[in-house]
Subunit: 700 residues, 2 copies
């Protein structure tokens, strides 16, 4: 699909240069020196020969078809060069040259023109403003990077060219095997979505790793990444997490959902493994590329010293993995082959004088043990430790049936062993904690792979009715939908809402109360008033006609005094809600990833403890349950502290109904049901208050 | 103090050996090869000469005084060897030999004998079962480690010999400068406390770093570490954090306080910088040894690429440090010297083609800027980057006025630069995140250094009265102090407690209620009933003589039915408490560090959210306030969500009173005041329920 980029049969360097130090020189040299076996075509009108190869004034002059063109001419010449390339029928273009979108409006205009020329000819474009790309499988180095890594199965996509340099430099020192490395630059055409999709179908790539500062199209990302992650692991390090700041929001849900939370929810949904730091990114990449996936969460640790064993066990327990209980059979064999002072429990301590065979035996036993899902081998370079030989023995014992990670701790002595381990596809980590973090990421990915099929429930609802209400508001330019209308919409989606009626006069209010039955609540109705209770617009527990009458008259007088400019539209008389556990259900539409549902326990849990979870809609029943279980306060719903267990299924179903509502109506920008009162299991749950914010309908 | 260990004028190797591969051979060779300039005395009855040096059958035969003896004879010969050494007047002993406490009871007995022989002669002992020690300042390598590090100012003490090997191996590869390295082995005599104390007075040591699995004497540690930390930073990596499990506890406080929480509280109190992982330990050590402390929390970042700059800014904001706003003057100079495309805001982007001078200029400007407290320099090895020259330029620009850390990201290309930076005392970290974590640790340490003087308030209390009650319980073997007596103790320490009276009959109960005033609560009194409300032993809001009478009779009948074996001692009639914010105040005595005070908001906050803080008693007013502020729910006390602000000073004072009480009475093992009802500011706060657990008084 993007094959022309990494497996072209010919590559032109447009702007190839004779002068060492120039980018156009470096790229041509890289192509030649790294051993690319296709045709290499230098293009430069000012030269007839570069590095012993004939140089052409343009691609037309070359006369034969070219798959990939790398453009490095100065910015002023880029458009002409690109036109020349597309005219000559190139399939793929990499524009190295900078000075486009990243420098302002003029550059952005030029960049749009570039894209439009390419698209009109069906040519894909990487860049501009990038380092280029490389593919070790085809020995293609179409970049001006200084280093050429070992062949391997990690493919990197990076929004930062500098980071590509750093990773290559790292890879070269540590023998990290790379398949493809793509610097995306300004992502004018080809972006992370295209690359993730293409790499997911590339057999040479075992893990896709990305460094991203932004995502171009959130919805497409969700679709593509989820499909790709089902085929192979995707590790993404997303920076800029604290930049976005708090967005303007009119709901609780909106004010709690930062951009980083949206990325987190999107990655979780799509099965993307999130690297929290640069080092984790490389740590995860190594293991996924080199080792099989674990089948469960039980870790066996083998060590030649107590301290590192404790560190590993600490880390295992802290992440939520489990230290295996080795089977008695394994313990017996270990006891037979290890000195009496050795520990045959987990961590298995093979002692400070362990020779390579002792290590190998312990690794083999752990791999055979049915109680073990992953093996972590630790080594400290002690007086008699044969470091390299032990590395060799461990690598030979690892049979690919279960993941084996190692942490050979130290520096000078262990360096050759670490190198050997990398060559033998056993990833080494500088500390036990780092290795355990990787095991945890592997386990999490497997858990995602095993998730049940995503079945989105479609409830029978009165969609037309909701549509009419929304329509009416939009027509009147009323983007805030007040409680009464919001509850009408919820009713249409089969939420339980307390019975209520709109009343314009004192008499109507009393009539409504009589009909509904006491006690009732009275709430002011006014499109100009959002926070009703702040200005005395809510009265509760009115239990007689007199109380209703007094409340109505008083409310009208007082609110007219307090908010003279508000247009009052009477009151809403509503049956008092039963008491129950209050939760908040909400949604805010993320500009990147669309509707994000929120759940939290009401009041302090949301406002003070920020104990909420988010999930991208539409959601399944399982995902709705996960949202509940993801809060720290979940135990309260399940009956902690002797309280009655509440109807968590009712909450989960309500979240699914909100999911359906906001999927049906992209016009809904934000909404809160706050509080949603949850009844006992089998009882009634109610949306006690609600607010919806609309946005102008999209054209087209 | 322990000078004989690291600056001896002569060293004996008792058990020196001719056979390569033997520990006694390695140690002698290490002493000779590393250049120790004092007298080296091989001792071995089976040899007359080893490595060209005269060998003695014992120290008596040597005839001259020896400062330090390193014992490596087989276990069976250790006692004799040690007796020979102390008889010959050695000042300090290192016993390398293993097979003592770590192998069981017999070894432990032998170890005790060893210690007793040493102590009776005033000789200090390191080990047994250790790797030995080294001191680069005196070129003393009295260990069997394979590696000899560069001279520097980090001193390590380790409870794991294997970890010493790993750190030395790391140090040798990375040029990490070490002053002293001590393997403590079984810590039979010299332990971490002795070493921290001694190293705090050692001018060659700039930072004390410890790897610990346990602490021998918690109280002494607190005292010594706090004094030492006032002189120089102490970094400790404590493993075994999840091992301890939950201890048996009869109070809320007890069940929430794991051993790791106690270590955390102890380190916080003593100003010890806690390393969460092995890598953090080394990361922190480097910076503290090589760079000055920051004066504030404002970070300037200088980078040659956007991506790493964003990573650093993310990390800065996440830790709670602050990205500096550079002064306009700085920005002007930067603008003048940097290309137009460069960013002169923070992060300062010197661009991908930055030469060494551009970096140096930016570093100098940041160091001069009054808005900057610390400088972080990032580099990616791009096409034209002069990596080593830039390292040199940055090192020269760093003038020691403010901490300068660097992260040269990559591998092969940056390796020589990293080496040079280490030599020039500029610590390098593999990623921006790691460096920022270090800056944060430095800032935290400085905050601790600047803490106000610790003044412990002594409240005038009726200590005698509390003592009598405790005395009475202990005499009767009653270690659970029930509500009534516990409240008497609290009253003696001037807590507000609701008025109440003990009543044995229906009539007495009514009389008490009349005297106290309605409404009242009635609570069963029985030494055999701990959870009163579970068995119907609590009735609230009794508002008339009839209600009291009915409640008393019913309670007696029912409890006799439900808990026939309980000895009933009447009821406690108590004035109903006013409503208010409920908090829980508690204490549990940690076996290592003594009384740990706990604070949390009542109910779900403690039981479900585990939102509590701990501090080691005695505490100051500031520390009490920090305990409140350290909870996530603190905002609720300060009037979040429109609630009245409560009297936080009353809580803080109560914590100080508990602190005084539990310091006065080591017999108090655990206590809870739950709930403590906090009134409005200036109002009344009350200990509404209380429970105290005693422990048998210590002999002597």
């Amino acid at each position: 699909m993007l094959d022309a980029f990494w497996a072209p049969s010919s590559v032109a360097v447009v702007g190839a240069s004779k002068s060492p130090g120039k980018v156009g020189n470096r790229i041509l040299a890289n192509l030649i020196e790294c051993g690319y076996e296709g045709e290499i075509v230098p293009v430069n009108p000012a030269a007839t020969e570069i590095m012993g190869r004939r140089c052409y004034p343009n691609l037309a002059a070359y006369g034969r078809p070219v798959d990939l063109a790398v453009v490095v001419v100065p910015r002023a010449g880029v458009m002409d060069a690109v036109r020349d390339c597309v005219a000559a029928g190139v399939k793929a273009l990499v524009v190295i040259t900078a000075g486009f979108k990243e420098v302002g409006a003029e550059g952005a205009a030029l960049e749009r023109e570039l894209v439009s020329v390419c698209r009109s000819h069906g040519v894909r474009l990487i860049g501009p403003n990038c380092l280029g790309l490389l593919n070790t499988a085809t020995k293609l180095n179409a970049s001006f990077a200084k280093e050429w890594p070992t062949r391997g199965h990690i493919s990197f996509v990076s929004q930062s060219g500098a980071l590509v340099s750093a990773i290559l430099d790292y890879a070269v020192l540590h023998g990290l095997g790379i398949s493809k490395m793509i610097s995306m630059g300004n992502k004018a055409d080809v972006d992370e979505n295209d690359l993730i999709h293409a790499l997911s179908q590339d057999d040479d790539t075992r893990v896709i790793v990305g460094y991203l500062e932004s995502i171009m199209d959130g919805n497409r990302f969700l679709r593509i990444a989820e499909t790709a992650a089902s085929r192979k692991p995707i590790v993404i390090f997303k920076s800029g997490v604290t930049q976005a700041g708090v967005r303007a929001a009119s709901s609780h849900t909106g004010s709690l959902a930062g951009a980083d939370i949206a990325y987190g929810a999107a990655f979780r949904r799509a099965g993307v493994i999130r690297a929290e730091t640069f080092e984790h990114m490389i740590d995860y990449a190594m293991a996924f590329a080199m080792q099989p996936l674990p089948k469960g969460n039980r870790v066996a640790v083998i060590t030649n010293a107590g301290g590192p064993g404790i560190m590993a066990a600490d880390a295992v327990e802290q992440t939520g993995l489990v230290m295996s209980s080795l089977t008695p059979a394994t313990a017996d064999v270990l006891r037979k082959h290890l000195p009496p002072a050795a520990s045959v429990a987990n961590p298995v301590d093979v002692l400070g004088d362990a020779d390579p065979e002792r290590y190998a035996m312990a690794v083999r036993m752990a791999l055979q043990d049915s109680q073990v899902d992953m093996v972590l081998v630790l080594l400290t370079p002690q007086a008699v430790t044969q470091v390299v030989e032990t590395a060799e023995a461990v690598a030979s014992a690892a049979d690919g049936s279960k993941p084996v990670l190692v942490s050979f701790m130290g520096g000078r002595d262990v360096a050759p062993a670490v190198r050997l381990l990398m060559e033998r596809n056993i990833p080494n980590y500088p500390s036990p904690e780092r290795a355990v973090q990787v095991l945890y990421a592997m386990h999490q990915y497997v858990a995602w792979l095993k998730r049940p099929p995503r079945v989105i429930m479609r409830f029978p609802v009165n969609r037309r009715r909701a549509e009419r209400i929304i329509e009416r508001h939009l027509r009147m330019g009323q983007f805030q939908v007040g409680e009464v209308a919001a509850k009408d919409i919820l009713r249409a989606y089969d939420f339980n809402v307390p019975p209520g009626a709109h009343a314009l006069t004192t008499d109507e209010a009393v009539e409504a109360a009589e009909r509904i039955g006491y006690p009732v609540a009275m709430k002011i109705v006014s499109r100009d008033i959002i926070h009703k209770s702040d200005i005395g617009g809510v009265r509760l527990n009115l239990d007689s006609p007199e109380a209703v009458r007094d409340a109505f008259d008083l409310m009208m007088v007082r609110i007219r005094q307090r908010v003279p400019e508000a247009r009052l539209e009477g009151v809403y008389i509503e049956k008092m809600c039963p008491r129950g556990r209050e939760v908040i259900l909400g949604m805010v539409r993320d500009p990147q990833f669309g509707p994000m549902l929120m759940f939290g326990l009401g009041g302090i849990f949301v406002e003070v403890m920020k104990d909420v979870t988010f999930h991208i809609a539409p959601i399944t029943r399982d995902e709705a349950r996960q949202m509940l279980e993801g809060t720290r306060s979940y135990a309260l719903l399940m009956g902690a502290r002797g309280q009655a267990r509440v109807d968590v299924d009712a909450i989960a179903e309500s979240l699914q109904r909100i999911s359906q509502l906001v999927t049906d109506f992209p016009e809904i920008q934000e909404m809160d049901i706050n509080p949603f009162i949850v009844g006992p299991v089998g009882g009634v749950s109610l949306a006690a208050d609600a607010r919806i914010t609309l946005r102008p309908r999209r054209k087209g």
